[in-house]
Structure formats: structure tokens, C-alpha cells
Assembly symmetry: C2
DNA sequence: GCAAAAGTGTTTAAAATACACCCATGC
DNA sequence: GCATGGGTGTATTTTAAACACTTTTGC
């Protein structure tokens, strides 16, 4: 909208009720998982037009009296069979460009969530209705960010915004714990940072830095046996309560310093 | 939604088209301004039910083919006469609780923006239709955060989320420049930080820290005469291009350190 | 001259970085 | 023993914080 000229007689005049229509409201979910030390995002191959055969985020329309968060959990379950924790769901934002869906105007609310590590997506054999995906898998983030994979709608935009948010939040909050099981080692936590930031961290300094942050992790009197070809047993830790902002940001080497 | 039981025969069965309805979509805007060294937010006193007479954020329904950002600019202009820059508009998120509006289900997309310092809101004498506010003013943030002022709908929640975001972004981005005019002094920039964070900063250390951050400000060969009872003239600076993430976060004393 | 605001210098404390080194295990 | 991963110690560099001090103006 051009800045309206101040000499307009009445600023709210000129509209009729027909100008204000109802909208289709949808949710799209960026479901993340770390597998083989790589950050991955669940993508579905669309079984119906538009963008039939193209890659997209799991998503769908919100029901009449359904909270947005519940819709996000529902569509992920319907399309992949994956159930994730309520606390591990966070909003990215609303995407409402009038042209974003070629069929009709849709405002979509994007969420991101963490899938349990063990979870593997599976198609719903019982239903192949509209919206049912043809195929789905956890795709490594580098493959998506390279641009080789074309995503439907504005989903590339949604993914980019989400990754920026998640990477930034790793610096300033205790978010990394969400990617870990209930009991975890400091190395597992470090692998989260390395997978999301996409680069190695000094294990010694990482350990100290985490333990210095109050309210991040608490020690357990348990140890994990070394896997593979040996190594000292690692102490297990549990997450402290709540999703907190760190008192001091966690230093991120992945961004060029001035 | 409870986690659905895995033995459900078909995950997508059981819905009919009637379950997916159309929604009213609105925008609400947290318009900020620094006046008398205080951060303030534009609030309108509602002229129509619900919450008639209560305080609320400027907002309204989105039109059929209107981008969300344009709707945000439009409703602020209609309700206050204030026009702000496109670049100074950022989304906070979508708020879609089924009970958030007592009349019908409304999904609102919240934005925050910066008003030019000189701008003062005025009612639209030409129109008193539905949605036209009865009164409006820039209310100091401490007054809102104290809880003495009750806000309509979930607007207290929107304001809280916005303030958290803006305060955090001052640390990690060059956001503060948006609150300044085209040419400004380092003290003016510091006053932005002090108003938003709500506490004093060391002027000497602040100056150095800003100048060390590449891509924040560029010097002009201009100086501002001291106001009031004297003082050394201050150099004027201009904002470097774009809204950038700082290479190193700006230290915030307002958050307790561990 | 004196007060006020802008801006620089200097000292001290704290934090990040790099990396050497010890610990406990599997084979 | 040796490789492997867990974990601690320590020297070095970088950054933040506190505040003394100089500069340039208005009155």
C-alpha cells in the first residue's frame, strides 16, 4: 500500500463487508531430527496437485475448534505416524502471501518441532485421500540448503527462517536439550550443536562451558559404557526444568567474527 | 490432542469437509516509539464491543487479496493516522487460540513496528464505524508491564512476546538503528538501548563497542550542536545498509549473569 | 570560570581459545 | 600395549567493566 495521502476525508471509508473475506488457515511443520550426526528435516512427496510429486513440509488445514498447536501435531501424525512431545513445538510465524497457494488464499502458520531420534516416518496405508503424501523421508539439511531440492509453495522460505531461528536459539537458550533423550552425555549434547551449526566444536571447552551455565544440565550417578572400540565411560546428565534463556550466550564459531 | 493410539486403522479417517472451516484473519500491531526517554506502545481505547472501553493494540481484519504486511500498515493508518516505513515492520507470530475472541474464531497475526519519533496519533474524525477507536495514546511500557493496565483479548500476551523479542534482538542485531532518525549521534543510539532495556549504560564503553561492530554505523562529517546548558558537539552518524546480525552479541547488563 | 556532554585512555577482571595431558575402557 | 573417547589443567589471547581524564561547547 502506498502511504495514503493525509488529505483523505475519512481514513476508514471506501470499504464494504465484501472486502473482508474468510481465509483458509493451515499449519506446516518443520520436523527436525539428528540422524547419522546430520540435522534432517521431514519432507513429504506430494501425492496430489498442486506441486504433485514435489517435496513439501507436512501440513494441512486447521479444524474449526482446534488450537494451532494441536493441528500441527495432528497433521504430522496423520502424514508420518510420528508423535512428538508438546513441549518440543514452537511457532516460526505466519505466511500469508496472497499468491502462496495457486488454488485459493491460504494463511499458514509454521511450526518447528523435534522428532524423537528413534522415530521413523511411515505412510498411512489405511488412507489415500487428498493430502495424503506419496512418500516421505528425513532429508539432510545441507541437501535442502544447497537449493538442489525444490520445495513446494513457500516452504523453502519457511525452512530457511526456521534454521536461522534454531541456530540462533542454540546460542542463547537451552534449546539443544530438546534433541537429546532423557539421559544423555555431554558428547551427545555437543553432537547436537555440531549437527545444527554444521561444524566441529572443541570438546574440552564445550564441556566446561555447558557446566558453567546454571540451569542447563544436572549430573546423574550413572555412566554410559563406551561404544565401539573403547573409551572412558561418560557420565549421564539430565535436563534442568524448563526452556531457559542462557545468562551468557553460548559462543558460536560458525559466524565470522569481526 | 492426546497422542493417538497406534492401532488406529486409518490415521486420516473420521473427518468430513465440514470439520475444516474458514477463519477470520486479522492483524494486530505493536507500534513502538521512544518519547521522553521511555519506550512506549500505541494503545487504542476500544469504541465497540467486545472489551468496549478497554485498551487494545491497533488491529483489524485482513482484506481478501491484501498481504499481511499491508494490512498492518493500513490498520495503523486508519486508526491513528501514523504512517511508518515498510522496513520497520516485523512479524511477531500468529495467535489462534479458539477462545481468543468471544464472537467467532479469529486467527491474528501480530507485527511490531517503529513509529517516527515526531508522530503523534490522532483519531479519524471522518469515520466512527465499527472498529473505530474512542481514544488512543502512546503508553509507557512500564505502565503496561506492571499489569495495572488490563489489555483486551490476548494482547497482553502479544506485547510480552514482542518486548522479549525486541530486547533480545538489540543484543544480537543492528535493530536499534530503526529507532533513530537518518542522522543520529552515538548518544541517541545509546538512549534507544537504555529505553528498551530500561537501565543506564556506560557511555564510554558503549561508544567503543558500537564503533567496533562492523556494519553498524558510518561517520558523517557533520556535528550536532549541544542542546541545553552546553557540552561538546557530537558527531553525526548514519546507519549502514540492511538489518544485520552482529558478529558478536552486544553485552546486555539487564539480564542477571551467572 | 564552571557545568555539561562528547569522547579517549588505562587499569583490572573475566571469559574464550588452544592444546597438553591424564583417565578409564575395549580389544 | 594401544587406540579411543571422556575429562581436567593451564597458558595465552580477547573482551568486558570501571572509571579517570581530556575535549569542546553554553552561559
Amino acid at each position: 500500500m502506498d502511504p495514503p495521502s493525509p488529505e483523505d476525508p475519512g481514513r476508514t471509508s471506501g470499504y464494504t463487508l465484501a472486502d473482508f473475506s474468510m481465509f483458509a488457515v493451515a499449519v506446516d511443520v518443520v520436523l527436525m531430527s539428528i540422524q547419522q550426526r546430520e540435522l534432517r528435516i521431514l519432507l513429504v512427496q506430494r501425492g496430489t496437485p498442486p506441486y504433485r510429486g514435489g517435496w513439501a513440509l507436512p501440513g494441512g488445514l486447521v479444524m474449526k475448534s482446534e488450537p494451532l498447536e494441536e493441528a500441527a501435531q495432528r497433521v504430522v501424525y496423520e502424514q508420518s505416524g510420528i508423535v512428538f512431545r508438546q513441549g518440543h513445538l514452537e511457532q516460526v510465524g505466519a505466511y500469508g502471501d496472497p499468491q502462496r497457494d495457486p488454488r485459493t488464499r491460504v494463511v499458514t502458520v509454521a511450526f518447528w518441532a523435534v522428532a524423537p531420534q528413534s522415530s521413523h516416518p511411515c505412510l498411512d496405508s489405511g488412507s489415500a485421500g487428498p493430502g495424503a503424501p506419496a512418500y516421505l523421508e528425513f532429508v539432510p539439511v545441507p541437501e535442502i540448503e544447497s537449493g538442489r531440492l525444490k520445495l513446494a509453495f513457500d516452504h523453502a522460505h519457511i525452512v530457511a527462517d526456521t534454521l536461522e531461528r534454531v541456530r540462533a536459539n542454540l546460542e542463547t537458550t537451552t534449546l539443544a536439550r530438546r534433541f537429546c533423550p532423557d539421559e544423555f552425555t555431554i558428547s551427545q549434547l555437543r553432537e547436537v550443536y555440531e549437527a545444527v551449526w554444521g561444524g566441529p566444536l572443541d570438546a574440552a571447552n564445550f564441556q566446561r562451558r555447558i557446566l558453567q551455565s546454571e540451569g542447563f544440565v544436572s549430573p546423574l550417578e550413572k555412566w554410559r559404557r563406551p561404544a565401539g572400540r573403547g573409551g572412558r565411560p561418560a557420565r549421564l546428565w539430565q535436563a534442568d526444568d524448563g526452556h531457559k534463556r542462557l545468562s551468557r550466550p553460548f559462543p558460536a564459531p560458525w559466524r565470522g567474527r569481526s
